[in-house]
């Protein structure tokens, strides 16, 4: 076959390949886009499953290096995963306040907020004259307190529920008399100001489902909700196990699609991106765990009970993935609990903190630890983002996807930054672009 004929044949093939791959890409793009929109509820469980598998790959390698066969290593990892999912999940659900406890908490918080505010401004009630702080800042502080009261206060239906729970004849474990006392006090306040309907609606979307769900109490089946959640989250273990079982087939599939010219470059890009993202995600997970653990230990030391310290530790650890806002959330939750806690006994007898000062101290220590030890140790300087990008990213994420958006904004930006930077660098190294 002459050289010219070969070249003609090759260019024909090239044209046909381009059409084929373009159509293939279009097909997957349309189908993929449609499926993501249609199966929105599956996106989060799939992402969490992928993330868990990704984080577990180094563990799998460690087990295999110890001479444990792949099958057994997978079984150990999957066992560990199921254990964490069910055991820790159950523990967290147990710690989370139920409907009755949520009502109690809100009444306690509202009472204590007002009590602290009055004490801060040196007054006995809202009508009396206050101290110098009140005379200078009173007008600015008043609307803040009113908004806060309005946000926390129980709606009419919730007050009825509270009364129901307080009745010792109907409930074996009625609400504590002390809290009932608080309830009577806060009921005298003119909150909530807004209409009852809007109040119920706005609170249904609270983060972590902590906001009271009146519908649930009204008899909506918990089992139906559980089955509904299970039917979507059931994909998580499947995604997890199949990604770990995968013997490089997904990577081979992607690489096989690449033309020869880009073969070595694609391998390098995939590997570099995998390394950078893996290190970043594992580092962030480690950093969040360390922050959560430090919170837990610190709060235990200043005398918080185990459940509260664990719950605040977990929340502060998760929130820590959100730059800037994370520590503020941890501080906020800690302070709210410090305000309502009644009897606080530090495990170290020589430490007798006011709980609010205690929480401030713990947050300060954790922040110092995070900035001087945890972050430099586990994250390094591999993926530096400009603070402006971080702020815009977190804000944008919260606008588009709410709390989940805030949580995933920075990792998503980091992933894209690493992918683009690596592709750019490799394209230049392989003389594909200038």
């Amino acid at each position: 076959m002459s050289f010219k004929k070969t070249v003609d044949l090759n260019s024909d093939r090239l044209r046909r390949s381009r059409i084929f791959y373009f159509l293939l890409f279009l097909f997957f793009f349309v189908i993929g886009g449609f499926l993501i929109l249609a199966l929105k509820s599956l996106v989060l469980p799939t992402l969490v499953g992928m993330l868990s598998a990704y984080l577990c790959i180094p563990l799998l390698n460690i087990l295999r290096r110890k001479g444990i066969p792949k099958g057994a290593s997978l079984l150990i990892l999957f066992g560990g995963f199921v254990f964490i999912l069910f055991f820790l999940g159950k523990q967290i659900v147990d710690i989370l306040p139920d409907e009755k406890e949520k009502l109690e908490l809100r009444v306690q918080i509202q009472y204590k907020v007002n009590e602290q505010y009055l004490a801060f401004t040196g007054r006995d009630d809202f009508d009396s004259e206050g101290n110098i702080i009140h005379s200078i800042f009173g007008e600015e502080l008043q609307p803040v307190i009113e908004n806060l009261n309005d946000f926390i206060a129980l709606t009419r239906e919730e007050r009825e529920l509270f009364n129901l729970y307080s009745d010792p004849i109907q409930y074996a474990d009625p609400i504590d008399k002390r809290v009932i006392g608080y309830f009577e006090e806060v009921s005298k306040l003119p909150y909530p100001i807004e209409s009852e309907e809007t109040k119920v609606e706005s609170e249904d979307d609270g983060p972590f489902g902590l906001a009271p769900n009146v519908e649930l109490m009204a008899g909506d089946s918990k089992i139906a909700k559980l089955i509904d959640a299970l039917s979507t989250w059931i994909v998580l273990p499947f995604v997890f196990i199949f990604l770990l079982v995968d013997d490089g087939n997904i990577k081979k599939f992607l690489i096989d699609l690449m033309p020869n010219r880009y073969f070595e470059m694609s391998l390098t890009i995939l590997d570099n991106v995998d390394d950078a993202i893996g290190n970043y995600l594992r580092g962030t997970l480690m950093q969040c765990s360390l922050v959560g653990l430090s919170f837990f230990v610190g709060l235990m030391v200043i005398g918080f009970d185990f459940d509260a310290a664990a719950l605040i530790g977990i929340l502060a650890g998760v929130a820590n993935a959100i730059p800037f806002l994370g520590p503020v959330l941890g501080l906020g939750i800690g302070l709210v609990y410090a305000m309502i806690v009644e009897d606080i006994n530090s495990i170290l007898p020589f430490l007798s903190f006011d709980p609010i000062i205690g929480v401030l101290f713990v947050v300060l220590v954790v922040q110092v630890l995070d900035n001087t030890i945890f972050q430099p140790m586990v994250l390094g300087k591999a993926v530096n983002l400009h603070p402006l990008v971080v702020v815009l990213g977190v804000t944008g994420g919260s606008i588009i996807f709410g709390f989940v958006g805030m949580l995933f904004a920075i990792p998503t930006i980091v992933v894209f930054k690493v992918i683009i930077a690596t592709i750019y660098k490799q394209l230049k190294l392989y003389y594909i672009i200038y």
Partner: protein, 177 residues
């Protein structure tokens, strides 16, 4: 690589039963060829199978480059069928043929050590099917199966040593002339 060949090998990786490959999957014959490659001569059949799992099959058309001078090396290639010419452009811009490699021979082995630039280009002179091993995959194999990874690395060192000696001898001969 032709569109049909590439799509069948690519898609068959994930959906083997949807786009079945025609006839024999060629695994046994691949193991036989690998056994003949000096780098893997010391390996048992089960070890060769493990190695074959981290290999990528590539098909090249005549006139294509497997790799070019100056590009960072990332993979070593083993020729399963076909012919590859190793060429270098000298200072006067003339093309020098350094070697012609065919079935069972391998090239680009230095890429298994680091990503330093390729010292020569590999031009396909006959339609070629090759298996490629990526450096980082071999390094990961060293972590998960140190015994197997160690054997390959040791053999690589031996081969590079032999080639270095051969180059030294050639240099000596040239100087004497």
């Amino acid at each position: 690589m032709s569109a049909t060949e590439k799509s069948s090998s690519g898609l068959a990786t994930l959906w083997g039963n949807i786009f079945p490959s025609s006839g024999d999957d060629g695994k046994d014959s691949l193991i036989k060829i690998l056994k003949e490659v000096p780098l893997f001569r010391e390996l048992r059949k089960s070890e060769l199978r493990s190695i074959s799992k981290i290999m990528y099959e590539r098909n090249f058309e005549k006139g294509e480059y497997m790799f070019e001078t100056g590009q960072p090396g990332a993979a070593m290639f083993i020729i399963i069928e076909g012919e590859v010419k190793i060429i270098k452009i000298d200072n006067d811009g003339e093309e020098l043929d350094l070697a012609t490699l065919s079935e069972g021979e391998f090239l680009g082995e230095l890429a298994l050590l680091d990503s330093s630039p390729r010292s020569a280009s590999a031009l396909i002179t006959e339609r070629t099917k090759a298996m490629a091993i990526f450096r980082e995959d071999l390094h990961k194999l060293l972590e998960t199966d140190p015994q197997l990874g160690g054997k390959v690395m040791k053999q690589l060192a031996v081969i590079i040593g032999i080639r270095l000696k051969a180059t030294n001898n050639l240099l000596l001969k040239k100087e004497k002339e």
